[in-house]
Symmetry: C2
Subunit: 236 residues, 2 copies
Amino acid sequence: MQNFNSISVENFIKTIYQFELREGKDTRSGSIAKELGITNAAATDMARKLASKNIVAYQKYKALKLTADGKKMALHIVRRHRLWETFLHQVLGLNMHEIHQEAELLEHATSEFLLDKIDAFLGNPTTDPHGDPIPNKNGVIEKEKEVLTLSAAKVGECYEVCRLVGGHKEFYDFCQANKLTVGAFISINKQYPHTKMTEIEIGSLRISLHADLAGMIYLKKLKKSAEHISSTSKNG
Amino acid sequence: MQNFNSISVENFIKTIYQFELREGKDTRSGSIAKELGITNAAATDMARKLASKNIVAYQKYKALKLTADGKKMALHIVRRHRLWETFLHQVLGLNMHEIHQEAELLEHATSEFLLDKIDAFLGNPTTDPHGDPIPNKNGVIEKEKEVLTLSAAKVGECYEVCRLVGGHKEFYDFCQANKLTVGAFISINKQYPHTKMTEIEIGSLRISLHADLAGMIYLKKLKKSAEHISSTSKNG
DNA sequence: TTTTATTTTTAAGTAAACTTAAATTTAATA
DNA sequence: TATTAAATTTAAGTTTACTTAAAAATAAAA
Ligand SMILES: [Mn+2]
Ligand SMILES: [Mn+2]
Ligand SMILES: [Mn+2]
Ligand SMILES: [Mn+2]
């Protein structure tokens, strides 16, 4: 494609891409800086530099946006990240948090050649262990399905957990401890809008989650009945 | 152990370590610079910097030497490199040259945690696919066996190929094309000291190699007879 | 042992990726 | 709307890992 980008540049581009998608996150330079653990000044410098290379569409004081080129780059990095996550999970058995951490480094040290080998070895997977879609070799990614979070789910309905969008250890520890894994089946017992709590049932467990956590758990509605569900859970 | 070293520092330390071992290679700053593709001036800078951190024992105009600390660091990098090579070969089926290239990058992006997982997955291997020993977790490496190269082998004797010390694609391509793999059995037909050629027999093949290549192929003497050998070759 | 060639070091400078501190702009609030 | 607060940008400076060019030291050749 073009010459090679540094780790700092790759992380910067990837972060903008991810923040553009996730609601509740903006792509102002300050937010990107905070996520990357650098100062606002450094983020501005980087934004200006990438703008000169037509990777970022930069306007002073405005939110950062990727150009078409930038987005394509981001998708290639995301592909490396998610294929590594899938590989580390399936082959070496690392857990949700561990795969993320390791992939964060490996994504910057992986040739196209090696990536193809990993992809083929895994049988060209389309989602990673967190339920996130893996862009294909051309940078094409399955567009976000009409998903809803646990916070927005309807009382009485049954759902399948299809995505865990966290990133931090504590979140995944909580999910694992409560059998909230991708593919798990749950039903909604009650919503408490004022306190922002959701009470769910998973297997024989009944747990209450605050929106801070529930908003990171994405669901897919099921047709099946609740009774049927409890006996066919994929995970657990 | 200590804070983290950059990729440049890791490659520098590793190169000194490897050049210290390989005969025909010296560790003068110019040699290291050439190997790393940097200028002599840059190598001198790095040597002085690492000397200030007690990683390199540096004296002006003298060959570079690692301190005890430096050697320990080098062994940890070598461990990462060789475990990755083994993993890529055994799990993803990459060839001799490919594993080296990829490991050259991955070795700098691998946590102790992940390395332990890889090590355990492989069953704590002690040699990599090139026949090179893998240092253990504490940086202890099996000391070089009394090995001889193909150039120095005796006519009429039988040997097992135990190490391919090349590094460049063409060498490995040549070896693979001629069934010269680690574990292969060969016998020496003739030595031509003046032209520095060695004629060997491997299976039904009879090939002649110049010392430039033959010097990179290490052998272990066998007790078995040549007849027995041809029917029990591990590789091929 | 001179002279010459090679190697190494020093000096000065660059680019990337940061930092802190001050100036500017935008957003929020009284 | 005027004032204050928060975010962003600019300016200036640092560290790392290089570079080129000149000076100094070592090694090789005459
Ligand atoms: Mn990363
Ligand atoms: Mn993921
Ligand atoms: Mn390397
Ligand atoms: Mn090797």
